[in-house]
Symmetry: C2
Subunit: 321 residues, 2 copies
Amino acid sequence: MEFDLFKLVRKEMELVEQSLYQHVNTSEQVLSEASTHLIKAGGKRIRPGFALLVARMYRDDIGYAIPLATALELVHMATLVHDDVIDNSEVRRGTGTVKRLWGNRVAIYAGNFVFARALDLIASYNRQDILEVVADASMKICQGEIEQMLSCFNVNLGLKNYLRRIERKTALLISLSCQVGAMLSTSNPKEIEALRRYGYDLGLAFQITDDILDFVADEATLGKPTGSDIRQGVITLPALYALHHDARRDELAQLLSSPQACQDNTQYIIDIVCESDGIEYAYSVSQHYAHRSKRHLAILPDTPVKETLLELADFILTRDY
Amino acid sequence: MEFDLFKLVRKEMELVEQSLYQHVNTSEQVLSEASTHLIKAGGKRIRPGFALLVARMYRDDIGYAIPLATALELVHMATLVHDDVIDNSEVRRGTGTVKRLWGNRVAIYAGNFVFARALDLIASYNRQDILEVVADASMKICQGEIEQMLSCFNVNLGLKNYLRRIERKTALLISLSCQVGAMLSTSNPKEIEALRRYGYDLGLAFQITDDILDFVADEATLGKPTGSDIRQGVITLPALYALHHDARRDELAQLLSSPQACQDNTQYIIDIVCESDGIEYAYSVSQHYAHRSKRHLAILPDTPVKETLLELADFILTRDY
């Protein structure tokens, strides 16, 4: 997702960037350094971007949304740094992970620390309803992470399990970003709900395209090797399709069930999946959710921000594979 | 600390126990099982006990404090389960850790999950001030954990570093329990502050006596082997005293600096510390804090609960070594 899709809130995005650095600063040097590294490692700040865009729908001055947008990115960072410990990841976005540079122990505490900081920022709003949806999303994300872990190398799980996994991996936090951006800015429950659903469906579409890219993009584009999911036993939608519809499905099931086979035959597995209609099928499902995300916006007045939110969905619809 | 010191709130302690089980129940079975194991592994529920006792100072019906007391124990459990991953601990309170039974990955997510559950419970009060002190304590606890990690096998750190470590390890959460128990029950800022300080000093005294027990108690009493701190390179007050005042301080410094020497010579190190005045010195420091904790209560009216809080401090003063 291109950063300039957030051009309507560019000034505020820069303030979020400053706010991130400011809020991980602490007297404990190692913690500050590890957390600062997490911020520097980048990312597209999609979650703050959505929260700010949604706020901009309702107000010109959206300074009030900066702490919330910062908190959303910190929650996201907390999940990433723990995931790197869990997955034993050495590299993320082309740079060494906190886990590799400081070790598992610092990575676990750094995750807890930035999450607590996020809470502190959310506390400043004195909004029970916002805290409740954040806590609820956090619990569901943990559940989804466990589910993903248990699903690895399991070829007997279907579409429902896949959708639940990507919901919790991506859709929930993007949905939350849109929802709380709206909750801070309007009291219209129908619009808040429409924006929550928009974020949810867009998040699903976004994760499905990401899962496709893991099969078809090159390493430079991904910032990590192609086929990472296969190697980790994460069975995504293209593979799921091939497992059910390809002539070589029995062979594929045998390969995907075995951690060793997934390591040794990654390219062969990718080839089977790409030669099935798995990519096309996954693409059509992502299109379905991207279209549906746009429809949720119908009840909102036509404004430049709404235009941008629609463009963000179009971006997924036209993403280059 | 004996459980019957919480006899004035026994009924509510049982409700907290039920509430704990109820709140870790989730559709993700592994997460429920691991979290339930954490609860079953026990502990004295000191933090809920303090929150409930403090609430009982002000009201007869303290049902309103049950979710808060539950949340405090969940926060404590979250720190324990992550600590077990960090310290690679196989046994806690005489039973296998989540880390050993389910692995590091489930342990990390279970910690995040119970913390998020705690948040959800705290959110129900709609009290910004309470959320702020919880978030603040959570951040400081992470900082202290990093500090403890960095301090391991370092014989050049002094009393100030030790006090900061035990503050964050124990005093902050006991202090928080007293403080938020009061914040829920009274609007008198002087009394809230007195109870916060009481918990803080009592927490320090309690941790110092725990650190003494690691030198002098037997394995059955501790629920883990004597000398665990030494083996992990955690230099506590008795050792700190010996490092500065014992005739064999140079030899001791050399031993305590080396992870291998700490493994191979645990009993010899314990002997040096016990033959110095380290235990007596640490005992006198814990007495200092226990006495100070009692003095904070002077401004509170004399009631059966105040009597119990004083007895809790006396319990530390007379703890059997």
